[in-house]
Symmetry: C2
Subunit: 143 residues, 2 copies
């Protein structure tokens, strides 16, 4: 391969998590986190909008079985275990997030400051995925 530079990538558009119960996922990501549902296929998946990004919640037994021979040849994927996603959070709102999550029955698993001072708050979604709310200055990204 010649050493051409890669075209630039502006960021993540989607992240997938795997869940057992789409209704529980919707209660958490839509009902508690307030993310609009952009697409749901009962028994298969439910997708949520977070700003200019999308959280894809899939039942892995469905996505693992999909094939690339149809009109929409989406490659199979699917994982078991506890995944991890992190949302950009305004540091001034983290106490409000703590209260909202706890009021909804989602206990705070961790809440600490990284060495550079950025704060992260962690909960588990109903499927057991680790969901973090972090100040973007953790990665030297402006709010």
């Amino acid at each position: 391969m010649e050493d051409h530079a890669a075209p630039s990538l502006s960021g993540l558009l989607e992240a997938a998590i795997y869940v057992d119960d789409l209704n529980a996922a919707e209660r958490f990501y839509n009902g508690v986190l307030g993310l609009p549902v952009v697409l749901r296929r009962d028994g298969a998946h439910v997708f949520f909008r977070a700003g200019n990004t999308i959280v894809l919640a899939f039942r892995p037994e469905i996505t693992q079985a999909q094939t690339t021979d149809g009109p929409l040849p989406v490659p199979p994927h699917g994982a078991q275990g506890q995944g991890h996603i992190c949302f950009t959070a305004d540091g001034a709102m983290l106490d409000a997030w703590r209260e909202r999550l706890e009021d909804a029955g989602f206990g705070i698993e961790a809440d600490f400051a990284w060495p550079n001072g950025a704060r992260s708050v962690y909960v588990r979604d109903p499927a057991g995925n680790s969901v973090e709310f972090a100040e973007p200055r953790l990665w030297e990204i402006a709010e």
Copy 2:
């Protein structure tokens, strides 16, 4: 719970993928995709910057064993199987991406247009995760 509105979330800051080989992950995400390495801990994880978002590549046997009793009590997580992430891509660059990925030995697994006309290109990273490059108008998001 009183029915207060949630504080708004501006988007995903991080998405995790799980890999077996950090060097292979770095060759793909840094060497082929051109994403700068922001942090690496040998044997554990390597993180990459994509615009204002971060791709976290973890060895799951390490993250599953972490505990929340240290000074940085990051909750455990970790999954087995093929995960999925999607990068925002400029539609005019997708042919260049195809060529770059193929030249680097990463065959195109799928390349099609969704019903709304947005195009997606899919490859596998070295760990088998499904990596998509999609025009953001797939989700009615401006380039």
